[in-house]
């Protein structure tokens, strides 16, 4: 084998190894997630279909054409109870407004909210209640607590086993 061929083969081998190593280093590229410089306030819960039933006697028009033994004594409608969520951070409003319902009108209400918050000590106030005063028996939750958030922490606000809002912190 000539010296030129030997040199060419060596370069070829070195390049092949370098190529594979380059691929491998791109496959393990260190990246610092800037999100982890801050903390995150996270709200997550789901409550089953809160709705309000209202009933009234049927009108003449509704009874017309219905066989006597098929006539209902009352007509009821289920009205979804609108909910409002309020989130305050150190007294400043992060969010205040109605909660959208997933899917159909009387499906469950799911709350899943994320807020970026600066690391440090904070007071967190959360309110989740029906928007109408008439739905007094419906689920309502509230929380007011102090928290010390470190960079990268997730402050999770979620109901505990008794249905009361509580906070868990990542460390």
């Amino acid at each position: 084998m000539s010296a030129a061929t030997r040199a060419r083969r060596s370069v070829a081998l070195v390049l092949a190894i370098a190529g594979v190593l380059a691929m491998v280093s791109l496959s393990r590229l260190r990246w610092r997630n800037p999100d982890a410089e801050a903390a995150e306030l996270r709200l997550s819960w789901r409550i089953p279909a809160p709705s309000e039933r209202s009933c009234r006697p049927p009108t003449e028009a509704e009874l017309e054409g219905v066989l006597p033994h098929m006539r209902p004594s009352e007509v009821c409608t289920d009205e979804a109870i609108p909910y409002r969520l309020t989130v305050l951070l150190d007294g400043d409003t992060l969010r205040s407004g109605p909660v959208a319902r997933a899917g159909g009108r009387i499906r469950a209400i799911t709350v899943y909210e994320r807020f970026v918050i600066a690391p440090g000590d904070h007071r967190i106030t959360v309110g989740f209640a029906p928007e109408t005063a008439s739905a007094a028996e419906a689920v309502a939750m509230a929380m007011d607590a102090d928290v010390a958030a470190a960079p990268g922490d997730v402050i999770l606000v979620a109901p505990d086993d008794t249905g009361r809002l509580g906070m868990s912190e990542g460390r």
């Binding site: 070829a12 691929m23 496959s27 260190r30 990246w31 982890a36 997933a102 899917g103 499906r107 990542g170």
Partner: protein, 526 residues
């Protein structure tokens, strides 16, 4: 414009890599087969890993695998690096097809199924990364859920699964594992579809390249273990993450983008890639015409039917009262490579202007126009090969659209007209635009494949060189060597009257005019 620029870069790179590795082992030419090889490595290593993976404790099981220094650790690394290799090779393969204009017409099915193959490869890779359930997997799952929640697919946000309020249901890891294992079945089906339009697909690289690739990947897997971040913790935002650029390059960008923007970008990019067969299709008047078979000349020998690299020829019953079968070209499957023209002894088949008969008329004219070339070496070659880019004396050069298109009677004509030698320049075998041109050429010249070079032609005056457009270095090497050998032979004596057998009269050429020959860098078709 983009295609031409990329094509130039590609040809230059090919030239350099040919020079280093030799065109036979140039891995760029084997990119499709290298993807299949990487998939095979993933399958074998995956079968080992699956025995140790636990959906009830995903991260812990990966830590346990990583703790087996003689087994699990490097097998896991090999699995991952093969997955990276598959993406790299698939991108190179797709780029080559794009630059070479092999992306439209009968190849559209291969193009579209190729895009789906890469999509499936991604699904497989991403589910694989989630399986590990380290901080990278956590980030990927959370970001994936956020993007999916923006689509009208689920009635409730699936992101809540990763909120941290409840443990992640093992059904999630089961679904993820199921996808990771089921998607490869889809890959096999799409691969079958992908190569369904080509005859004799080459699914694996040649042995030396195969084992070198496996060896290199294994070597690096032994030395550099696959990355494994800290275990996922849903109540911590992943900070330092090890990304795999080939699969999760998009994470840093999408995390700060609105999901709608991310989907729009992905949608536009996918639409453009899927539309490539339409975007790259030449205008109707510039599309090369498909081959056709003359029922009068065809003797039904079946050679073109056997040789067509795209299975575009069928043998059908004759309807002209003669016995036997006749070749029939399916224009929808024909890419107009012209290889069938070189198969046909009676010169009865080929794209218009490029049949054996057309080539013979052209070479006669060539010899008349350049009588001085007689006593010299004549370069005959594919316009895409080094012959097309050759800067030497063009009066000694005769171009065809593919080395496989060349009819051996042209070689005979040149030798008998007194050329000192005929050097036929073909593209590297695995980089033929028509897939099998160089292979059939060598068989026809030296191994008696129909339409073979007649025995009366002195084989010492015929040589084949495989050199890509920018590999002038190899071409010149072969030319010098051949010239030295030719100098030792007696001076050539031209025949007074050259009667090349055409088995029918020469007057019938397929078209009155030759179709334009491809220039190097001209990539849309012959």
């Amino acid at each position: 414009m983009l295609k031409r620029l990329l094509g130039r870069v590609l040809q230059r790179t090919d030239g350099w890599v040919d020079r280093l590795y030799g065109s036979k082992w140039n891995p760029l030419y084997q990119s499709g087969a290298l993807v299949v090889l990487c998939l095979a490595v993933m399958l074998v290593t995956g079968l080992y890993l699956i025995f140790f993976y636990r959906i009830g404790a995903p991260y812990e099981s990966i830590v346990r695998i990583d703790g087996q220094p003689w087994g699990g650790r490097w097998i896991r690394a090999l699995h991952r690096y093969a997955a990276d290799g598959a993406i790299v090779a698939a991108v190179v393969h797709a780029l080559r097809m794009f630059c070479q204009g092999r992306s439209w017409g009968p190849r559209a099915l291969a193009w579209i199924s190729g895009v789906f193959l890469v999509f499936l490869l991604y699904v497989c890779g991403l589910t694989g990364y989630v399986m590990v359930w380290d901080t990278h997997g956590q980030l990927l799952a959370a970001e994936g859920a956020r993007l999916l929640d923006a689509l009208p697919l689920f009635s409730e946000p699936i992101s809540r699964t990763f909120a941290g309020a409840d443990p992640i249901p093992s059904a999630f890891f089961f679904m993820n594992l199921f996808l990771h294992i089921a998607v490869p079945v889809g890959i096999v089906i799409f691969l079958w579809l992908h190569v369904s339009r080509v005859a004799r697909p080459v699914l694996l690289p040649p042995r030396p390249l195969l084992w070198t690739t496996v060896g290199l990947l294994t070597g690096v897997a032994l030395v550099v273990p696959a990355a494994l971040g800290p275990g996922a913790d849903l109540l911590r935002l992943p900070g330092d993450v090890t990304l795999d650029v080939f699969y999760t390059f998009w994470l840093p960008w999408t995390r700060s983008a609105a999901p709608g923007v991310a989907w729009l970008a992905a949608g536009v990019a996918s639409a453009v890639v899927v539309a490539v067969p339409l975007l790259t299709r030449p205008r109707a008047d510039r599309r090369p015409a498909p081959s056709f078979a003359s029922t009068r000349l065809c003797t039904g020998c079946e050679q073109c039917y056997t040789d067509c690299p795209y299975d575009a020829i069928r043998m059908v019953d004759r309807e002209d009262g003669r016995e036997g079968k006749v070749a029939l070209v399916n224009p929808a499957a024909c890419v107009s490579c012209g290889i069938c023209a070189g198969s046909c002894a009676p010169m009865g088949v080929g794209p218009p202007g490029r049949t054996g008969r057309d080539q013979l008329s052209r070479v006669k004219e060539f010899v008349q126009r350049h009588p001085g070339a007689g006593g010299d070496m004549v370069l005959v070659g594919c316009g895409r090969s080094a012959a097309g880019a050759w800067a030497g004396d063009h009066t000694r050069r005769f171009l065809v659209s593919c080395a496989g298109n060349l009819h051996t009677s042209v070689v005979e004509y040149l030798v008998r007209s007194g050329a000192r030698g005929v050097l036929i320049v073909a593209c590297p075998s695995r980089d033929c635009w028509g897939r099998e041109g160089p292979k059939w050429l060598v068989e026809r010249l030296f191994h008696e494949r129909e339409a073979e070079l007649k025995a009366r032609v002195d084989r010492r005056r015929v040589r084949v060189a495989h050199a890509s457009a920018f590999d002038q270095w190899s071409l010149e090497g072969v030319m010098d060597k051949f010239a030295t050998e030719l100098a030792r032979l007696d001076a050539p004596v031209g025949d007074d009257s050259i009667e090349v057998e055409t088995e029918c009269d020469l007057a019938e050429s397929s078209t009155p005019q030759d179709s334009p020959l491809p220039r190097p860098g001209h990539t849309s078709g012959p």
